[in-house]
């Protein structure tokens, strides 16, 4: 992960500057020494697990929580020295949910966004009503104008509150999880509105987003927080990484550039109930994706699964990594070296079950078959998966077939994944 960019000195186009901010409630600060600079027209996503200090940071920026240490500047001004009205012209916030204590219509609620521009009796000038109308059209809530907001759905109310914030005409827009309660279409609409605002009006946008893929495609820059500290700050592809998932969120996942957008895209495995460990080990010899279903099945069944020897970019290797399995790998297209072979041999020796898959075998992985024969002869229970005939996948000029036939005599042979019984 890239280190936070310490050289981000206040620039003339910095709309929001949080410098060395420490803030929180009580003795244990929720944000420590965080520095965040957002320029005009920039859309910045705040990511990080629950409790990492994202909302606290937004509250500091929105003048709701005075930091214990550090500096806050919005358009060059310290919001904590401004009146509420002056500050509200600079910063607008979209909070998570707002339900008024009394029954106000959507139009009334959006009009409240014009408060910083109204006099005390504030009926609203034609300009104010025009802004309100624009904001309601932008978030497609104009048809809800006369409906009481407490009767709206969560998503509709969300958009009404967004319209309220838009009507504020502020230079900085802070959004606290703006997409919760919204269906996919309204998520895209909302984020398009926000992007348009940044691009056309030069509004600086900071959004707390939980969906990393959405954050990566929406934001110009991402800032990751972990336990109150900024741990990454940069373009999405430098922030949303395998390491971020593992170190900050504690999950295994694959991050690949999206085919279309080029932005990082996160793929997580389906959630599974954690199986009761059987205390039994299984080793899988796969390759070319032939081992993946077995790896999954055995892991789910509670086996302590190991894999190898695999080539690093092989899809079985990727699956083994995602399942966080102990594995032996060698560089792509290289032959299995002696050290890896020895390592794998030791692994297989500890296994109670060996599954040999019908992968293509060539000079690069022929050693795997030698290891299998060795283990089967030594008495390890061995299952041979033979869905594809050996003749079609022998790229060694017959040596692989010889070893395979040798294996057939000592191992159980099955014709499909379903027949690999693990009992």
């Amino acid at each position: 992960m890239p280190a936070p960019d310490a050289a981000l000195a206040p620039r003339p186009d910095a709309a929001l500057v949080l410098e060395g901010v420490t803030a929180g409630y009580g003795g244990d600060p929720a944000v420590r020494d965080a520095t965040v600079v957002v320029r005009q027209g920039e859309v910045v996503g705040l990511v990080g697990p629950n409790g990492s200090g994202k909302t606290t940071l937004v509250r500091v920026a929105s003048r709701a929580l005075r930091p214990v240490a550090g500096r806050v500047a919005v358009a060059g001004e310290d919001p904590y020295r401004l009146s509420s009205k002056q500050a509200a012209r600079l910063v607008a916030v979209v909070p998570q949910d707002v339900v008024p204590a009394f029954s106000y219509t959507a139009l009334e609620v959006v009009m409240m966004g014009r408060t910083p521009y109204l006099s005390r009796w504030g009926g609203g000038a034609p300009r104010d009503w025009a802004r309100v109308r624009e904001a309601m059209v932008a978030t497609s809530v104009q048809h809800l104008a006369d409906r009481p907001v407490e009767e709206l759905s969560g998503g509709e109310r969300r958009r009404v509150i967004l319209a309220q914030a838009l009507a504020q005409d502020a230079q900085v827009l802070l959004l606290d999880e703006p997409t919760t309660h919204l269906d996919v279409r309204h998520v895209m609409d909302l984020l398009s509105v926000v992007r348009g605002l940044a691009e056309r009006e030069g509004t600086a946008v900071v959004a707390i987003l939980h969906d990393l893929n959405l954050a990566a495609v929406t934001c110009d820059r991402l800032i990751a927080l972990d336990r109150g500290r900024v741990v990454a700050d940069g373009p999405p592809e430098r922030v949303v990484t395998h390491d971020l998932l593992r170190a900050v969120y504690g999950v295994e996942g694959e991050v690949v550039p999206d085919h279309v957008t080029g932005r990082p895209s996160v793929h997580l495995g389906p959630p599974r109930a954690v199986p009761a460990p059987l205390g039994r080990r299984a080793h899988v010899i796969g390759g070319a994706g032939r081992g993946a279903p077995i790896l999954r099945r055995l892991s789910e069944a509670g086996f302590d699964v190991t894999a190898g020897v695999l080539h690093q970019t092989d899809s079985d290797a990727v699956v083994a990594e995602r399942l966080n399995l102990l594995r032996v790998t060698v560089p792509p297209f290289s032959e299995i070296d002696q050290a890896s072979e020895d390592e794998c041999r030791a692994m297989i020796r500890r296994a109670d079950l060996l599954v040999v898959c019908d992968a293509p075998y060539g000079p690069g992985n022929l050693a795997n078959l030698r290891l299998a024969v060795e283990a089967a002869r030594a008495g390890v229970r061995t299952i041979l998966l033979e869905q594809v005939p050996m003749a079609e996948r022998d790229f060694t000029g017959g040596r692989a077939s010889e070893l395979w036939n040798e294996l057939r005599e000592v191992a159980e042979v099955v014709g499909s994944y379903d027949q690999v019984t693990v009992g």
Binding site: R59, K85, A92, V98, F102, T105, Q164
Partner: protein
């Protein structure tokens, strides 16, 4: 939001109803004075027309010395209570707030009684009792607000409990004060139950500017109270100086309640019912609600007083008893509904 036309029509309707209830209340009593006679006599007093010749002198005396001051007082007190309730409901973000329910009226009464018992009501001029009532109301309002607030929210249960606890403490102090009162105890007791009897034009004249001041100040908080109903943090984000607004609202609500209490004792539920009912007709916007309750509060109290003095004539009921009979079921209905809403939100 309702259309401006409909709002104007509602206000006109309320103004008409106020005029009608005024004339009816003035007409009914041991001696019937027809509305037409009243109108002609008032016009004469205001120098608009000559004295109607057929009207006996006794009717003139009853109208100007007994009925009109009483009905006028009911109107002023009703307006003050309704405005106070509106401000407190906005401040507490809770439709169950009412100066009597949250103990503020008791606080005002304690202040007033302390002055009456220890100093004498006339000794410090016409403003002594209202000022003491104001001080008592202000202290109570601050106290209840601090007690009722847990974190960012004022929950129904804590609000009611804080009000009950504070009111109970105040009533015990009040009993203590009254034990020093000797002969006055009967009068004080009658006043405590809420009475619009025995106030002359002079004291009404003294209280009207204070009520007007309170209403004006309430008007100045109206828009910000709208935003406060979104929560304190949201209101601040939208440009409201929340702490200043809260201090002002407490002061305004207390002042209006104190005016009402110093003139007519503790009258409950007018401040509860009026804003609540009017919200159904004019919406929740405090800028629209306030003018409407200033018309509706007087109607409610004038009619309640009419019932109080005619229902068991020649005996009079305390008007506070009548408003409580009306208001208590209303309150229970609201309480149940709020409970259901709270559960639905959870």
């Amino acid at each position: 939001m309702i259309a401006p036309n409909r709002y104007r029509r509602t206000l006109l309707l309320l103004a008409g109803a106020l005029a009608a209830s005024f004339l009816i209340a003035v007409a009914v009593g041991a001696v019937w004075i027809s509305p037409w006679t009243s109108v002609r006599l008032i016009a004469w007093k205001l120098g608009i027309s000559a004295r109607p010749s057929s009207v006996p002198h006794s009717a003139e005396v009853i109208l100007f010395q007994l009925r009109l001051p009483r009905v006028a007082l009911a109107a002023v007190v009703g307006a003050a209570l309704a405005a106070s309730g509106t401000v407190f409901q906005g401040l507490f973000r809770n439709p169950l707030a009412d100066p009597a329910i949250i103990g503020v009226s008791s606080g005002a009464a304690l202040g007033a009684i302390a002055v009456i018992v220890f100093v004498g009501s006339g000794a410090l001029g016409a403003f002594a009792v209202p000022l003491a009532a104001f001080a008592g109301a202000l202290l109570t309002a601050f106290l209840v607000y601090r007690l009722a607030r847990i974190g960012p929210a004022v929950h129904v249960a804590t609000l009611l409990l804080a009000g009950i606890a504070v009111a109970a403490a105040i009533s015990s102090v009040m009993s203590l004060v009254m034990s020093f009162s000797g002969e006055q105890i009967r009068d004080i007791y009658a006043w405590l139950l809420g009475g619009l009897v025995g106030q002359g034009w002079q004291s009404i004249g003294a209280i009207v500017p204070l009520v007007a001041l309170g209403v004006l100040a309430a008007g100045l908080t109206a828009h910000d109270l709208n935003l406060l109903s979104l929560g304190e943090e949201r209101a601040a984000q939208l440009g409201v100086e929340v702490d200043r607004l809260k201090r002002r609202s407490i002061a305004v609500g207390a002042l209006l309640a104190a005016c009402a209490v110093s003139m007519a004792g503790v009258i409950g539920f007018v401040g509860l019912m009026t804003p609540h009912l009017l919200r159904l007709f004019v919406g929740a916007d405090h800028r629209r609600l306030l003018p409407a309750v200033l018309l509706a509060g007087p109607i409610l109290l004038i009619l309640a007083d009419l019932v109080a003095r005619t229902a068991l004539a020649p005996q009079e009921l305390p008007v506070g008893v009548v408003t409580a009979l009306l208001g208590a079921p209303f309150f229970l209905y609201l309480l149940r509904r709020e409970g259901r809403r709270a559960r639905a939100r959870a």
